[in-house]
Chain length 313, copies 2
């Protein structure tokens, strides 16, 4: 297995990315190769400084960088030698089995859509995020921002995507799929949520456990996958981030609140595309990069993409 | 001024409601009359037990109760002698100046719409809730559940309603109106949010401060009023409630997190109707009931309804 890492992506790159790669190397099995994509000189410099055996890594030079503030589509097209573009090139040609980056999220999504492309049958790929539902227990929330307007048939597909992810990457048997809504009854919610509930309640594709309200998302263990449109999912995720930051600012030291720290899970999978792609938080530090790499390994190992292809073909 | 209180409404009624009335009486000015609406015998029994001077209150007997689980519209129609129906009758006839209840929310809304009715020019009345933005500072979030699908022109009106509420009840000069969205740029969000942003950015009706993201709602003091549709607002509010409960469960004792305790502000105003109506949380205890009554006093005192009528006529 070959995991590609964008060394130039993220606010603390290339320092945090190279150090994260070194940390992940310590725990990855020997048959997993780590491909560092970025400025070769800088990569070698940091590896040498850390007295790290360079032969542990494969390095692919990329002379350019897509900065965090750049326009995603324009930058991706204008910078074919950027680490993001080079990474997607390797992924598309099968020279790496998965690609992870904490860089410009928009450019990562553009790259995913234009090179790797959506799996046939998937109306809209989406992005998921882990949210804690109990001590040491996470659920997958999706979509968290790719599709702010999601039709009921798209939301239904999120249910299938979430089920396959929960099974193959998170190791959950018969995962419970919940629909984010504003009441427990099926008649509750906006028009999209009502129609989605109707589609889901008869589902033979997954184990639908009904509506989940905002107060039941965290700490209640109501479902393993929470489905909603990308507008609602993004607000939910950022509100949780806000509470985590608030807790930090208030110097609240708590095991459960600490689970909202994105460092622990590393990144956000893009679901419904032909290859494994993981997008990390821009502010990723060393442990976050390490965990993003380990998450990419799990996604590849779990054959997520093949399982999604099977389900939709 | 006469404030009507539904004594039978709420999980801990009539005990918590009568005790809350007694507590509020201690701080209300002498010219504010408190009208207790409900089972007269029970009210008198509790007042006597508490060795409370009954002449401090006006009591209006209501022989029936709409229970929490009942179908709102059916129950409101079928039980004309319920405390909710009697309260709205008094409000409609001008025998009380405002009505507060912690009872069946749906029945309260049905009562508001069918007796008091929407102010002419208001497309959709909505319900707001206080959310903390800094220590001892609250913003108003609306809509929190009345209209899960809200068109851009409806959201625009929420901005006006929020502005007037913030000015006249919360005492905020030139309140900042923010639109809940999933990015700071105007192009961000779902179709409704994009169109609403366009309407709001040219507004001369209020001080629009742009988009507010989920992580900026609490603790960042970005706006005095957060506008969103009732689906998103309900999820936001319940997620915050969830975090508050989580903090309690984790025995986190913090001044800011304590501000999420609904007891402190008491209730949720129905905005855009012809009379002041405040709906309390079903689990309201004595301090929550007391604060709901004081909030009703503020709404009446601030001439909220007249100011909204002026703005829309």
């Amino acid at each position: 297995m070959k995991i590609g890492l964008d060394i130039m992506g993220g606010d603390f790159a290339p320092e945090a990315t190279v150090l994260g790669a070194i940390e992940s190397r310590k725990v990855l099995p020997a048959d997993v190769e780590l491909v560092l994509i970025g400025d070769q000189d800088k990569i070698v410099e940091i590896l040498n400084r850390e007295k790290c055996d360079i032969s542990q890594f494969q390095i692919v030079h990329a002379s350019d960088v897509i900065e965090m503030g750049e326009h995603p589509a324009k930058a991706f097209k204008a910078k074919p030698n950027s680490s993001v573009a080079v990474g997607f090139g390797l992924l598309h040609k099968g020279l790496i089995d998965g690609f992870a980056s904490a860089g410009n999220t928009g450019a990562m999504l553009v790259g995913a859509m234009y090179t790797v492309k959506a799996i046939s049958g998937i109306i809209r790929p989406c992005i998921g995020s882990y949210v804690p539902t109990d001590i040491n227990k996470y659920a997958l929330l999706l979509d968290v921002g790719l599709n702010p307007d999601s039709r009921p048939d798209v939301l239904y597909q999120y249910g299938i995507l979430g089920k396959i992810y929960a099974e193959s990457v998170m190791g959950i048997t018969n995962p419970r799929i919940g629909l984010v809504n504003i009441g427990s009854e099926k008649e509750k919610g906006n028009m999209v949520a009502q129609s989605t509930h109707e589609l889901m309640e008869d589902s033979k594709d997954f184990n639908f456990v009904g509506n989940v309200e905002g107060n039941e998302l965290f700490g209640d263990d109501k479902a393993d996958v929470f489905v909603c449109d990308g507008f609602v999912g993004n607000v939910i995720l950022k509100e949780a981030e806000g509470f985590y930051k608030l807790a930090q600012r208030r110097k609240i030291d708590d095991e459960f609140f600490e689970m909202f720290n994105f460092e622990h899970y590393g990144g956000t999978p893009v679901l419904g595309i032909n290859k494994p792609v993981i997008i990390g938080h821009g502010i990723s530090n060393v442990p976050a990069i390490k965990n993003m790499i380990l998450q990419t390994q799990k996604v590849i190992e779990g054959n997520l993409v093949d399982k999604i292809k099977e389900a939709f073909n």
